[in-house]
């Protein structure tokens, strides 16, 4: 297929439409026994016209599948320790450290050191656990926000919300980031939580920022290292945050005023 050389320069030229030649149709055109009529054609998704292209698409998906490899080189670095306060995890790749940092030091509650997987869950936690106005307000209006991002519903109690999560959003009844405030680790109703509590039984030792566990037993007095951290924290006003990963209390003072 020989293309005129000027075509390539047209491609990179300025946009524009051709001034159309005069259109002059004769009624005899396409008259029976002929039936041609110029028309745009639409094909629905299952039309056989798409077969070849669809097969190529899936071959591509599967090619990647059998040949996914060549992970981006992960340079080894000399072992180093997490700089997070009270954390002594050791890493030998930056990726592992990054993941650790984002998981444990990014969305952290400044009151109880718990980490959350998202800003939304952290905000909800701070509001419900550490905002003294919340309890007062929740007696008057629905204050328990749904935990699913994008859902704006609010509920009178945590239990109502749990019912909503289970019924409307098909969440597991023991959703880990929605633990009732008063529950004791051993008293939690669902077996899974016990398994988890066991699984996490040793955790307290290793990190002050004791992660996403929301059960009360983990809110217990924090290990030594955290005490160490507190020695500096008392010199820094609580409203000052360092960096994005710093732990956080209330969202803003403005919001607090609104509550009042």
């Amino acid at each position: 297929m020989q293309l005129p050389p000027a075509l390539r320069s047209r491609l990179v030229g300025a946009p524009g439409a051709a001034e159309p030649l005069p259109v002059q149709r004769d009624p005899a055109a396409g008259a029976p026994p002929f039936h041609f009529a110029a028309r745009r054609v639409r094909f629905p998704r299952d039309h056989e016209f798409f077969e070849d292209g669809d097969v190529q698409r899936h071959l591509y998906l599967q090619d990647v599948l059998t040949q996914v490899t060549e992970a981006p080189e992960r340079p080894r670095v000399p072992e180093f320790t997490c700089q997070g306060a009270g954390c002594c995890q050791v890493f030998d790749t930056l990726e592992d450290y990054e993941h650790h940092y984002h998981t444990l030091h990014r969305n952290v509650c400044s009151f109880c050191r718990r980490a959350f997987p998202s800003v939304h869950l952290l905000d909800t936690h701070i509001l419900e656990w550490h905002d003294s106005l919340f309890q007062i307000l929740s007696e008057r209006q629905d204050m328990y926000q749904c935990l699913v991002e994008g859902c704006t519903e609010k509920f009178k109690t945590g239990k109502d919300r749990k019912d909503h999560l289970v019924r409307r959003h098909l969440y597991p009844a023991d959703f880990r980031f929605d633990k009732p405030k008063k529950s004791r680790g051993s008293a939690t109703p669902v077996a899974t939580v016990q398994v988890l509590a066991e699984a996490l039984g040793d955790d307290g030792e290793q990190s002050g920022g004791d992660a996403m566990e929301v059960c009360s037993e983990h809110a217990a007095p924090l290990p030594e290292r955290v005490g160490e951290r507190r020695t500096y924290s008392h010199r820094i006003p609580s409203t000052i945050c360092f960096g994005q990963g710093a732990s956080r209390g209330f969202k803003s003072t403005k919001k607090r005023k609104e509550h009042r």
Partner: protein, 493 residues
Amino acid sequence: MWSGRQGRLRPVGCVVEELRCRRREREAALRKARREQQLVSKRLLRDDVLEEVEGGCVAKILGEAEIQQFLRLAQRGTEEKERERALVSLRRGLQHPETQQTFIWLEGSIRTLVGLLTSSQALLQLEAARCLHELSHSEQSAVAEACLPATSYLLTYLSGHSSDFIELCLYTLGNLIVESEAVRRQLLPQGIVPALAACIQSPHLTVLEALGYALSQLLQAKEAPEMIIPSVLGSTLPQHILRLLQPGPKLNLGVAVEFAWCLHYIICSQVNNALLIYHGGLSTLGLLLLDVAGAVQRTEDAGLELLACPVLRCLSNLLTEAAVEVGGGPNQLEDERVVAALFILLQFFLQKQPSLLPEGLWLLNNLTANSSSFCTSLLSMDLIEPLLQLLPVSNVVSVLVLTVLCNVAEKGPAYCQHLWPGPLLPCLMGTLASSDTEVVGQSLELLQLLFLYRPEAVEAFLQQSGLQVLEQHQEEAQLQDRVRALQKTALHR
């Protein structure tokens, strides 16, 4: 930006012939699956290279006791490294279908794994997610569906910040999505659409490609036009998809391929295409086509056909929308460079992937059918001859080429003046001699238009023994009326 897929594809160390053979087998299987409307594929994310370097050990099938031991170690090991290693061994074992089966029927195994997924230790969490990913990739429904208790967490983690982890969650979700309608009926109320809409703002290319994959899996579902596409269109996803398809230094091939397919699944379902046109879909796709055409001239073997195909489909189907038919306004496609780009792509397909030629010609038909401007561009840019060179490719291609020529010819004498004299008539003599009824039928249509608007062509037709060629078809039921009409015109001119 068009330098091909970064990284993912690696030649496997085996003979080329064997590879080709395996590919042909898979292609046949996919064709069969498509006809049965069972076309689904999954992706596997696995850092094999890293593992070869690290362990060098071959994964082996694990028995019940071994699985239990690894799980116990992962849960209660005294040292974190030890716990992590236990999960790595478990994951290697889970690469085997046998181990997967044993695993899912083991009491409490999935529960423990989900527990580890929500663990406070980042690396254990990551390793648990990799185990789930292995399971999600299984061809056996029972295995993949065993992962269902994890979906609310996988979705929750999409609003996190760790890009590797989010990528893994997205590929796992993408694999689970195609498993069954039941899975999708769980994911939708759990908020997969808003979760994806929030995640699509990520700056990480790996996350975006994974997201495009997961979304395209969702949009491919049979029930998508009724159950899924309306909520996708109601979210901010369409604007973001179009943003990610805008040509420029930020455009990435892997990401663009996934989102172009997403857009195709949305558009061909015809739920609310006016919305996409309103958001500038036609002009974005038109510019993208120019960009791809520019790139095929510069780069070798970058897999650009993978992107060109859905872009052609999107443009072509969007052009049939009523909002476009009305004409005029900023949401129209009137730039003749699109025609230039399309021809460069047709040439590229001819060399690289002839099976895509019909899709390109389909777009050319939809561009020229109602537009005298595009028909004029075809003539002024001397594109009739290259178009005729495609006739020998196949009957399907011939019919489409002839249809485009009819689109030009039916616009009247000013257009037919450019078609004759020229190479058209000799080519038509060839297609008239074809044994394919459709090819001959379309040739007769074109001949009628040519005789009508350019009577001088009749003389030349007779000189080239046109009548004898016509006679070959006078017994064919579908053709004889038109053959007779043309014979009459030729003899009584």
